[in-house]
Structure formats: C-alpha cells, structure tokens
C-alpha cells in the first residue's frame, strides 16, 4: 500500500483537528456522524437520567426548599443564603476535616492494599480464580447487613475484634472502637477500606492482566526484574487504569453515606460526621432541603477539583 493512501486513511480514521480543507468534506462529516453514533446512546442516556437531577439539585441549593415545597412547588429564591448558613455553622469545619481524613485514609488504604493484592494474585497458583472471586463477597452484602455485622464485631464489650485481641493478651479491656471520639473515625475508615479493597483489586488485576507478558520478558532480558520491572513496565502501563481507579475512588468515597450512618450515625459527638452525612441529615432529618442540597453541591465542587485533575493527567497521557 502506498504511503500517501496509508496516510490519508490514517487522517480519515483519526480525524485530526487540522482539517486539510473542504476537499473531502462529505466523507469527513459522514465519519463524524458514525463516530457520534457510537457516542449517541451514552450521551442520550446521561442527559435523560442525569441532566434534570443535576440541574434540579443545583437549583434547589439556591432556593428555600421545605417540605411544603414538595406539595406546593413554591420555593422562593434565596441566592447564596443556604451556602452561607451551611458554611458558617459550627459543624461545617468538623465535617470538612472529617471528610478529608476519611477520604484520604480510605483511598490510601484501599489502593495500596488493592494494588498489593492484585500483584499478588498475578502469580499462578491453584485456586487463584476462586479466591479472587471470593474477594468480591464484601460487595455482595447489602450495606445494611455489612454495617450491622461490623457494629457487632467492633462492639466494645462483646465484639469479636476485642475478644480476639483480649485472648491474644494485647489488651486487657475492650477498646471503644465506635464510641470513642478519637477512634471512631479510624474505625469507620477501616471498614470503608474493607469495602473498597475488592473494587481496587479487581480493576487493578484486570489492568495488570492487560499488560503483555512479552514486555516483562524484554525487561528481564535487560536485567529489570521484581521491583524494577514494576517501576518500568507495570506502573507506566497501568497508569490510565490507576488514574481512573483513584479518581472514581475519591468521587465514590466522598459520597459514602450508608456505611457511616449504619456504623455510627455521624457520632459519637459528630466525630464521624462528614459532608455527605450532614447533607443527608439536613435534608431528611431536619427537612431543610435547600441547605442539604447546598451541602451536597459543595461535595460535588470538591469532586470536580479531582475530576479536573484527572482530565489533565489523562490528556497528558494520551498525548504521550
């Protein structure tokens, strides 16, 4: 095949931004239509299912939205009043710090343990597949069940964890995992890590499996094995998957609600109160939906920062 034909087809397939002029306009716009057809179902779905809720949620945060509004539809516009109220409450700084600690701790724990386990499971040994599938069991349990079971395990007096530590002689009296203001957040982070490991392991394992073995062989021919192979072969190839896992991890962790509610309800004394739990409490316990939406949108703004970072990193990776 001649070079000119090959390069023209290359242009046609990849559709670069430097349009060569209107010479092949019909072909190019038909190309675009095809390409958009691939995207169209997804875009349609996103708009239909998320478009209205996003707009509604943002609008709600600027309105005085009460239980009455649900029935009458009246919601006077109050501008930023909800945001001001929410951010100047004494609970806001506590929630913000807790959210930051909760997210950082969870992501760090989940990712490191998940990556470690994914690399471990890459080895070939009997029952590998079965054991890897069993790792997904925490995700199969309804959150209401997981949080109840963990509450029992972490109970100060009769919980399995304390009983185990006492039988080993590490402690003499029960540790108040969920009822001490200094320990509760750590305990909740621990449970969230437990929930997040299966996700990280499975996605990272899939990503690891996509790295051709030939690359490792070539690297080992050059003398790079073990840790150096990881740094020079695994990590660069895994980067796109890692960045998706981290960004999604942050977005999901920021939203975590049910597990905290199930374990401590934001207590004791607001030591596990995060922005997500505060938003829920404002809306569904105190019926201040405008303020709850404002809290929720603050969370979205924080997530947006991470999303922008992800897109930056991604664009650079694609350009490489």
């Amino acid at each position: 095949m001649s070079a000119t034909v090959q390069s023209r087809l290359h242009l046609a397939v990849t559709e670069t931004e430097n349009d060569g002029g209107p010479r092949r306009f019909g072909y190019r716009s038909r190309e675009r239509v095809y390409q958009w057809l691939f995207l169209a179902p997804a875009v349609a779905y996103l708009v239909l299912f998320f478009g209205y809720p996003v707009v509604k949620n943002v609008a709600m945060s600027f309105q005085e939205y009460t239980t009455g509004t649900f029935y009458t539809g009246e919601a006077p516009w109050v501008g930023f009043a909800n945001y001001v109220t929410v951010m100047s409450s004494s609970l806001f700084s506590t929630s913000l710090i807790n959210t930051a600690l909760f997210t950082a701790g969870s992501i760090a724990g989940q990712f490191i343990l998940g990556l470690g386990l994914a690399v471990f499971f890459k080895r070939k040994f009997p029952l590998n597949g079965i054991l890897r599938s069993l790792l997904l069991l925490p995700w199969l349990l309804p959150l209401i069940v997981s949080s109840a079971v963990w509450r029992w395990i972490l109970d100060k007096d009769s919980g399995a964890l304390n009983n185990f530590l006492e039988s080993l002689g590490i402690i003499s009296t029960g540790i108040p995992w969920l009822t001490s203001t200094s320990l509760a957040l750590a305990a909740v982070v621990g449970v969230n890590i437990w929930i997040g490991i299966p996700f990280n392991v499975t996605v990272l394992y899939g990503g690891l499996q996509d790295i051709p073995d030939e690359l490792y062989e070539a690297a080992s021919l050059d003398g790079a094995t073990g840790w150096r192979a990881f740094r020079h072969v695994t990590w660069p190839m895994l980067r796109p998957v890692v960045s998706v896992v981290l960004v999604l991890g942050v977005v999901y962790t920021l939203k975590v609600l049910d597990i905290i509610l199930g374990l401590t309800n934001g207590g004791p004394a607001n030591s596990t109160q995060t922005i997500a739990t505060q938003s829920y409490a404002l809306s569904f316990q105190n019926f201040k939906f405008g303020e709850g939406a404002a809290m929720g949108n603050i969370l979205v703004l924080i997530s947006l920062v991470f999303a922008v970072l992800y897109l930056r990193v991604n664009r650079r990776a694609v350009d490489e």
Binding site: Y45, G129, D213
Partner: protein
C-alpha cells in the same frame, strides 16, 4: 510507552505460546511453592472475609445477633433460612434478572462510547468525560426523586425494564470510564490494519476491538452487576407493590420500625450471595492475561 516500542518488543520477544509455565511440567501439577502461595492467599481471604463468616454465624443464631455467640455456631438454628427461602425466592430471581439485564444494557451503551472516546478525537470528548464524572458525583436520592416522577408518568413503575434502565445509571458511567482506561493501552495499529483491509467502523468494533477489550468488558460488567445487585435506592423508589421487588428491598421486610428480625435478614443476605458469587466466579475465569500480546502477532 508508545505503540511503536510495543510492537517492536512484541516482535522481538518469543511467542507466548512457546514460553513454559512456572515450575510446572504438566498442566495441573503444582509445586509446593504454588501451594504455599495458595495458603498465603487463603490467609488473606480469611482475614478479609471474617465479617462474611460472622454474618453466616449470625444467621444461624436464634435471635440473629452475635451477642451471645462463641466463635463457631455449634447449635445452628435454621428458622431464618426457612423464612428466607420461602419468601425471598422470587425477589432473588427479580434481582438476578435486573442485574443481568443491566449488565447487557450498560455494556451495549458504554462499550461503543468508550471506544469513541478512546480512539476518535471527537470534539467534545472532554465534555462528555466531564459529564460522566459529574454524573458519578450526584447523590443517588436526587436521581431517584427525578426518576420517580418521570416513571410515574410513563407507567414504568413496578417494571423490570424500568429498573434495568434506572440501575444502569450506576453502570454506564462507570463502564465507560473503565473500558476507556483499558482501551488506552490497546495498540491502534491493530484497528488501523483492519480498517485498511476494508472493515467499516462497526465491523472493526465488533470483530477486533471487543475481543481485544475482553478484560475491560468483563471488569466493567462485573461491577455493573455488583452495583445493580446491591442497589437499594431505585428498588425502593421505583416500586410500589410486591410484584417486582429486588432482594435488597426484600430484606427490609424483616426490618420494621420497631422490631428487626435479624436472623431472617442475615439468612437472606447469605442466600442472596450464593447465585451472585457463582456468576462472578464464572466471569472472573475469563479475565485472562496478555490478550493484546497474542492478538498483535
């Protein structure tokens, strides 16, 4: 790594098929080192899955809590299981159908979109990605409230297709992001070669891209299944009768405003996990290594 280096390395190294496995002469014969690794893996799993074991323990207690239990359920009480089996069978079926339907629908919508975002330099790809990320940040209750009104008008309440559509809102954005991330590593040369051979977009997608992205599709499908399986919010919001009731909502039959029947709750959770884990086991078997390597050859 650019695609050029990749193809060079692939060409330079020997074919994967000829490379011997680690320390095994005949398929199925494992050495002690492998069994040692298995033992270590079982230990990890035992620690990770202790709460699951504890749940099973609780399901076998008469009052469903582990307050008075020893480490082993020495005198198991199966009333919880009797209740669960007699009442939740239909709900389990509903959950399975909705979850599987959601996987099929989500992958059908997400895979082409991920391909488009990964390969075509479409204007607005960044916007779409951004929109997908935003969609993941919206609290579920907001989406559920909006959907309730729309479904009520369209008559989609209490319907399985309605639930499939709604639950795909968990799966589609996530699947697009994951499949796209996996696809970023696929060598474009393979697809271009197919195009040069005269394959249209659809042909190239169906015969080349999809098989190459097997790991991505399985991983995305896996989590779509899990997201849908454990969804409670849409199950609660979009159903008003007992007819179509996923098992996550069925569990709440035993949790009243005053009194909870924990042993039935735990038993239902245990029973519900079984078909799901079987499906996941089957799916995981297909996450194989180095698919791209072999195909490029």
């Amino acid at each position: 790594m650019t695609t050029n280096t990749q193809t060079d390395t692939v060409a330079a190294a020997t074919s994967r098929r000829n490379r011997p496995g680690p320390l095994k002469a005949v398929h199925g014969q494992w050495g002690t080192r492998q069994w040692g690794t298995t033992a270590l893996a079982i230990l990890f799993l035992a620690v990770m899955l202790f709460p699951v074991y504890w749940m099973i323990n609780a399901s076998l207690q008469p009052n469903g809590t582990t307050l008075q239990t020893s480490w082993l359920p020495l005198s198991p009480d199966f009333t919880g299981y009797a209740t669960a089996i007699s009442q939740q069978g239909r709900n389990l079926g509903t959950s399975l159908v909705v979850a599987l339907g959601s996987v099929v629908f989500s992958l059908a919508v997400a895979a082409p979109a991920a391909y488009a975002l990964a390969y075509f330099k479409v204007r607005g790809a960044g916007v779409v990605l951004f929109a997908i990320l935003i969609s993941q940040m919206i609290p579920g209750i907001v989406v559920a409230n909006a959907l309730y009104t729309a479904y009520n008008d369209l008559g989609l309440l209490n319907s399985i297709p309605g639930l499939i559509l709604a639950d795909s809102s968990h799966g589609i954005p996530f699947a697009i992001l994951i499949i796209r991330a996996f696809m970023n590593n696929m060598p474009a040369s393979v697809i271009e070669a197919a195009k040069v051979d005269g394959a249209g977009h659809l042909r190239a997608f169906w015969s080349i891209v999809l098989p190459l992205s097997r790991n991505a599709l399985i991983t995305a499908g896996l989590f779509t299944f899990l997201f849908t399986w454990s969804d409670f919010l849409f199950a609660l919001t979009l159903t008003t009768t007992d007819d179509v009731r996923p098992v996550t909502l069925g569990i709440f039959q035993y949790m009243g405003a005053y009194v909870n029947d924990w042993s039935s709750v735990m038993a239902t959770a245990v029973l519900a996990s079984i078909p799901a884990i079987i499906l996941l086991l089957a799916a995981q078997k297909y996450v194989a290594a180095g698919t791209t390597g072999g195909a490029v050859k």
